[in-house]
């Protein structure tokens, strides 16, 4: 099951634990993110809230823009590629990004097949709504999983749903008897070997981060309290009233999530989150989480 350089791929994911990975679209935003304490930045063409508002096809970020971000910050630079678009991924690997997010936030290039991530030297992170989806992505070679949530909404409800579901499915697997695991694999539509491994260890074989709808320091702390190992923040920072302050507060909230008094202190001056969208107003066919399977 192990792909080449698996230890290094998962190793970097483990070094990003307890931190915040921030979506940025240019070098100025990357500088703000790094100064606020981001543990990595994610380069993309437009933040999810803008993709949702403007529509059109969302693709990987322009090369020149990614290079500018790489030369501006010293923290890891990730970048998004479209689902199944292995050539975008090859190009991102060629310019030496540190991680690729095969992301439902961009317009899918292939509605059936995700990228064969084993074939790459660069590690991949993929979104998942449930355990089966997470294990299918890991089976394809993803070295980090994040919840899908519902990106660009500033609404944490879907990320909570996905995180809780993945964990309750893991708990259920760990109670099954060995002869029940093949049936569980069939139900989950997941590779048997990975199902067996999760059942034995009681956890995913790769780090599980939260993403999709994080808009406030309290949202980020909630993700940590629900067992996420780190938090991705997309539109929540650069669509807020004061990106530098929001970024700073979210980083501190992730470090001090166990300490409500410290959280209150961190959030003292927090006043201008992105507005956010109520999920029931988004028809199912317009939900980004439905992309990929």
């Amino acid at each position: 099951m192990k792909t080449k350089h698996w230890e290094e791929k998962v190793g970097l994911a483990r070094m990003l634990v307890g931190g915040v990975i921030m979506d940025v679209t240019n070098a100025d935003q990357a500088r703000i993110a790094e100064a606020a304490g981001a543990s990595a930045v994610m380069a993309l063409e437009r933040v999810p809230a803008d993709i949702r508002r403007e529509g059109g096809v969302a693709r990987m970020a322009p090369i020149q823009r990614i290079r500018e971000i790489q030369s501006t910050v010293s923290i890891p630079v990730m970048a998004k590629a479209r689902l199944g678009h292995f050539v975008e991924a090859q190009v991102l690997e060629a310019i030496k990004v540190d991680y690729i997010d095969e992301s439902e936030v961009l317009t899918p290039a292939d509605e059936e097949n995700h990228i064969d991530k084993h074939a790459f030297r660069v590690p991949f992170v993929c979104g998942a709504r449930n355990l089966g989806e997470a294990l299918r992505r890991i089976g394809e070679g993803a070295a980090m999983i994040r919840t899908k949530g519902e990106a660009g909404t500033g609404n944490i409800v879907e990320a909570v749903r996905h995180l809780r579901l993945i964990q309750s499915e893991i708990r259920r697997l760990s109670q099954l008897r060995p002869e029940e695991l093949m049936h569980a694999a069939k139900d989950l539509q997941a590779p048997y070997e990975l199902v067996r491994q999760v059942s034995e260890t009681g956890k995913l074989p790769v780090p599980n981060f939260a993403a999709g709808g994080v808009a406030t320091p309290a949202d980020a702390a909630l993700m940590m309290a629900l067992g996420a190992e780190s938090v991705f923040v997309g539109s929540g920072i650069f669509k807020s009233g004061d990106p530098a302050a929001t970024a700073r507060m979210i980083v501190r909230a992730v470090t001090h999530w166990k300490d409500p008094a410290e959280l209150a202190h961190v959030m003292e001056d927090f006043g201008s989150p992105m507005q956010g969208i109520e999920l029931s107003t988004i028809p199912p066919e317009n939900r980004l989480q439905e992309r990929g399977w």
């Binding site: 350089h5 230890e7 290094e8 190793g11 970097l12 483990r14 070094m15 990003l16 634990v17 307890g18 931190g19 790094e34 304490g37 981001a38 543990s39 990595a40 010293s74 923290i75 890891p76 690997e93 030496k96 990004v97 540190d98 991680y99 030297r121 660069v122 590690p123 980083v251 501190r252 992730v254 470090t255 001090h256 300490d259």
Partner: protein, 195 residues
């Protein structure tokens, strides 16, 4: 093995601190997560984990940990830094500000980006058998001044360095199940401070 006199602290701002805590637990040693200055009291040793050195340095300064950490490391408290943690214990040009507790100069991300991360079997002075070293966007140790001393070399560069009670690794022992490097550090903690 003698027990350390107090818990071993693990800087828990960001990074691989859970893995270090687990390694200490497996060795049967008491540990404590360090996020605020009060957490530094009566420690027998301190681990600075892997992760992003910029984040750790920035938040350590904001939470009033930076100066106490520097004084503890300089006063002979056993400290063990892995990757980002070794960057913080040493010196170097540019960002981030470091503790400068060891006369060891490190260059960040010096092997390149993530696709240049690698593993290697390391021969380390305190260990009889080789150690599986995982290097993730690792720093290079470019200069060592006495009393700092290399305990392991890879590709012509030191990868494990000892300086009094300080131990610096540019690789990640916490990413493997091999506890031998942690065990060496715990022994130093059990011997207590030297000045």
């Amino acid at each position: 093995m003698n027990e350390p006199a107090g818990p071993i602290g693990v800087l828990a701002i960001q990074g691989s601190y859970h893995l270090h805590l687990r390694a200490l637990e497996r060795l049967g040693v008491k540990s404590r997560e360090v996020r605020k200055p009060g957490d530094l009291e009566s420690l027998a040793g301190l681990i600075l984990p892997g992760g992003e050195s910029t984040v750790m340095s920035l938040l350590a300064r904001e939470y009033g940990l930076f100066e106490p950490l520097r004084l503890l490391a300089l006063s002979g408290l056993p400290c063990f830094g892995t990757c980002a943690g070794s960057i913080l214990l040493g010196r170097g040009q540019g960002q981030p500000p470091r503790l400068e507790a060891a006369p060891v100069e490190l260059l960040r991300n010096a092997y390149g980006s993530q696709i240049d991360s690698f593993t290697a079997e390391l021969t380390l002075e305190p260990l009889e058998r080789p150690f599986h070293g995982v290097f993730i966007r690792a720093p290079r140790i470019v200069k060592l001044d006495p009393p700092a001393r290399a305990l392991g070399i890879h590709g012509g560069l030191p990868v494990l360095v000892e300086c009094g009670n300080l131990l610096l690794a540019t690789f990640h022992p916490e990413l493997t199940d091999d506890l031998r490097v942690h065990e060496c550090f715990v022994k130093t903690c059990a011997q207590g401070r030297t000045s």
